[in-house]
């Protein structure tokens, strides 16, 4: 099976200087894992464990202190590779005064789609995330859940091969969570590779093929689906056991 994402010894330290004092804080430390084509890979960890930092390093929003990230064989952050990635941030913010159709046109153009394709895909993805009724409304009027759906729409617009979803169910109501789950399953069936971070164990349990537990910036355990499948609550047990072993505060 081909590797879509390869993360090797990824380290990020934040160095900040203020009034002559330099402080160094940990982002992630020597993280290594890979995501295979067609799989749903989950990053699980407590708040502040380093999940979002890992995703930002993969997307080129942060630069690593050391280590390598390659996506489809090219270095992370390279402009060409981004054409094949769809990204949903934890809380997707948009230009408040624009409508969903306007922002999707912008993102479509930036993803090098032609105008006719943008128009047809915009209608498709808005329908898919059940936001077609609000296509022409300014987004300042939207609730958090509605913005999350538009976030998902923009991530899918250019039909990417690899989806990076940061806490995709945050802000969604129970129905939205269910729809989002169905959507991830459907996209995966269509061959999309999905990397998603979450602190919702139940979501990862239902969706992921493999899960990496991140604690205090380190990847402390990699678990295969076979370890928790058909054993409800097992992933949670593994997670807690792992954190206790690593001494993470509980």
């Amino acid at each position: 099976m081909d590797t879509v994402l390869d993360v090797k010894n990824l380290t990020k330290r934040y160095v900040r200087s203020h009034l002559g004092r330099t402080t160094v804080s940990r982002g992630v430390d020597e993280v290594t894992f890979s995501v295979r084509q067609g799989e749903v890979f989950g990053l699980l960890g407590l708040n502040g464990s380093g999940k979002t930092t890992t995703l930002k390093l993969i997307l080129g929003l942060l630069f690593p202190t050391s280590g390598d990230v390659t996506i489809f064989g090219s270095p992370a952050g390279s402009v060409d590779v981004r054409r094949r990635i769809g990204y949903l941030p934890e809380v997707p913010y948009f230009y408040r005064n624009l409508t969903p159709v306007e922002v999707l046109r912008l993102y479509g153009t930036l993803s090098q789609m032609d105008s006719a394709l943008i128009t047809s895909r915009t209608a498709e993805v808005l329908k898919l995330v059940k936001m077609d009724h609000a296509a022409q409304k300014p987004m300042r009027e939207f609730s958090k859940g509605m913005l999350q759906r538009i976030g998902l729409a923009q991530a899918l617009l250019h039909d990417p091969d690899f989806l990076v979803l940061d806490e995709p169910v945050t802000g969604l109501d129970p129905l939205g969570i269910r729809q989002s789950r169905e959507l991830v399953t459907e996209l995966n069936k269509r061959g999309k590779t999905i990397l998603f971070s979450s602190h919702s164990i139940s979501e990862l349990e239902r969706l992921a093929h493999r899960v990496a537990i991140i604690s205090e910036g380190k990847l402390v355990r990699l678990i295969e689906e076979a370890d928790w499948r058909d054993r409800p609550g097992r992933l949670e047990e593994i997670f807690i056991e792992t954190l206790q072993k690593t001494g993470a505060a509980l």
């Binding site: 080129g60 402009v79 054409r83």
Partner: protein, 268 residues
């Protein structure tokens, strides 16, 4: 080609964002209000009514255009970083220089729209009484000079917006970026005075050279002072505007390159 398309898409979004922004509308409204006030003030000086409206109007145009440029430029990237809308742009196949150029181009178009709207209003107020207007424009071509004056103001806006954008990239708040930019804008109007003080000052040797280099980094808005020059005998409009255009493009380009270099290493 795709790069140009991306620049234009970002610019288009920036223009829409700016024009739908309440602050932009407030600036435009107050600009109109001040132009009306200039017309009323002109009534107090009957002999020079059109001259007062002309001068005050141009100052108003420049100041309100400047306000749009500075407020727009400092929030151009800073606000987008704070609101995290930038994540969804920079994770697309878009180079960081493309992003900076698109945002800047969009701002320039928005500022040009503000100034064009206010200029139309200004011209209408000036032409309200054609008799005074004809008397005021006797001996010079309003149709040729007025657009030049607007272009000169626009040149200053371009430079100021590029400076504001640069400062906003490493400023921690919009206020500090505003203060830095305003200082540059003020210093830019005192180029000859600064040169005079440097030449007459007590500093010598390396310290004088250092002061001169710092002064050379500041913009020199004397290159755009078309208003005080165009009625002087022997004045060459083409030479003046050509020099101003080269200076404007060079200075703006320099700050845009600095901004792009800084921005390419910026983390989000």
């Amino acid at each position: 080609m795709s790069r140009l398309r991306s620049i234009l898409a970002i610019a288009r979004t920036t223009v829409i964002e700016q024009i739908r922004n309440r602050l932009y509308l407030v600036i435009l409204f107050f600009g109109g209000l001040v132009l009306v006030a200039a017309a009323l003030l002109g009534a107090l000086a009957p002999g020079h009514r059109t001259r007062v409206i002309f001068d005050l109007g141009l100052v108003t145009l420049e100041l309100f255009g400047l306000a749009t440029a500075i407020f727009g430029a400092v929030s151009l990237v800073l606000q987008e970083t704070e609101s995290k809308t930038i994540y969804l742009i920079l994770t697309r196949p878009v180079g960081r220089s493309t992003y900076i150029l698109g945002r800047f181009l969009g701002l320039v178009v928005a500022v040009a729209c503000t100034m064009a709207a206010m200029a139309l209003f200004h011209v209408a107020v000036l032409m309200w009484d054609m008799e005074y207007f004809r008397e005021f424009t006797a001996g010079w071509s309003f149709a040729r000079i007025y657009p030049m004056l607007l272009l000169m103001s626009m040149g200053k806006m371009l430079i100021t917006a590029a400076i504001a954008l640069f400062f906003s990239l490493f400023a921690t708040s919009q206020v500090s970026a505003l203060v830095f930019t305003s200082s540059f804008w003020i210093a830019g109007h005192f180029g000859p005075e600064m040169k005079f003080l440097i030449d007459r000052g007590t500093a010598a040797g390396p310290s004088k050279a250092l002061i001169k280099s710092v002064a050379a980094l500041l913009p020199n808005f004397q290159y755009f002072n078309f208003r005080d020059m165009f009625q002087l005998p022997g004045f060459s409009g083409w030479s003046f505007t050509g020099t101003a255009a080269v200076y404007c493009l060079g200075y703006t380009g320099f700050f845009l390159v600095l901004s792009t270099l800084w921005f390419s290493r910026k983390e989000f």
